[in-house]
Symmetry: C2
Subunit: 184 residues, 2 copies
DNA sequence: TCAATATACATCGATCCCGAGGTTTAAAAA
DNA sequence: TTTTTAAACCTCGGGATCGATGTATATTGA
């Protein structure tokens, strides 16, 4: 998703792509060569991108990659109907968010944000005693577990507030677009 | 790490472990059977845990798992000197944090928190233009990328504050322990 | 009585991903 | 001039993980 998402902005070569993905997921981990290049090849085989060789600006020749219509469609499908992991895994979610603007319909964007919003609404029960009863944060012995739950709650609230503002914005935009189309 | 970490609290059977790991990493993804059971077997082969069959409370018999001294040592090694991914990947970091109290030396705990603190100090450059120049958040076109960077900054600050408080606490504790031992 | 459900464990093939190694090219440094 | 460094790409082996599938057992409910 990140490959097609970045290529949607402008054509890039593999090495550049690698650095951008690593920076985006920077606080996660860089992507390995052994992951990136086979994935590029797979996307090429699937006609999601085209490749043309260009002289390297400083060294070896590079393969400039360009997204195709098929690739754009694929990207939009991934964004419009993301797999569960992209909603529930913070790392994946942030990657999705970085390219959500490529889904051009504000109503569709709002739908994705709403899925995340609903997920964040679920109360987080992280730790349980020997009987399986959830332990509330203030009863935890470990200060690290306490902090973990505090941080989790606080960052969730921050994101929820942002999500609500965005969804409201997008709905206004979608409503406005409808009124425009229907001549209102 | 999560398996041994949970078993360090009290003995558990595989099914229970599965649910606890899924809840801990709840906002990430549940662990698959095909991952959990082979891992348990590997840990058993490595003498990190022992297994004894007990009648199932409601259904099929269960294998109660208990951590061994070898397992405890292994867990502590992982916690004391975590692989880079455990510092830089939020998901992994939170798992580590959930078990850091099993590293009983406050000085060692503080060292791990400091590694995370140093990592969070690095300024996050997430997006670049076609030339490779970093784009500041206020110049981003996509509201989603803007929000991404805002949320990232805000949650980082929250965690940094907490880390600083903890490290200060732990250092006081460590200092106190030294004074105790030296009869001061 | 029979099916459905939840508990509890296990295996297997496919796939994902990493990391190590290796190649080519051009610029910079020695 | 030779070596080193950095850009740029690629492959291969192996380990981690998933998802599908299968087994056994006890409870619930139709």
């Amino acid at each position: 998703m990140a490959i097609l998402g970045f290529l949607r902005d402008f054509p890039l070569h593999g090495y550049d792509l690698k650095n951008r993905v690593a920076s985006l997921a920077g606080h996660v981990r860089p992507v390995a060569d052994g992951t990136l290049y086979p994935t590029i090849k797979k996307l090429e085989d699937a006609q999601c991108l085209t490749r043309r060789t260009a002289p390297g600006s400083v060294a070896a020749p590079r393969h400039m990659l360009e997204i195709t219509q098929t690739g754009t469609d694929q990207l939009r499908r991934w964004l419009r109907d993301p797999e569960p992991g992209f909603i529930t895994d913070d790392n994946k979610w942030y990657v999705l968010l970085a390219f959500l603007h490529h889904l051009e319909n504000p109503r569709e964007q709002a739908l994705v944000l709403t899925r995340r919003r609903e997920f964040l609404d679920q109360p987080a029960q992280l730790f349980f005693d020997a009987n399986g009863t959830p332990i509330p944060p203030e009863q935890l012995d470990s200060p690290f577990r306490k902090g973990l739950m505090q941080i989790h709650r606080s960052t969730n609230l921050t994101e929820i507030e942002w999500l609500d503002r965005q969804v409201a914005d997008l709905n206004r935009k979608a409503g406005y677009a409808v009124r425009q189309r229907s001549g209102g």
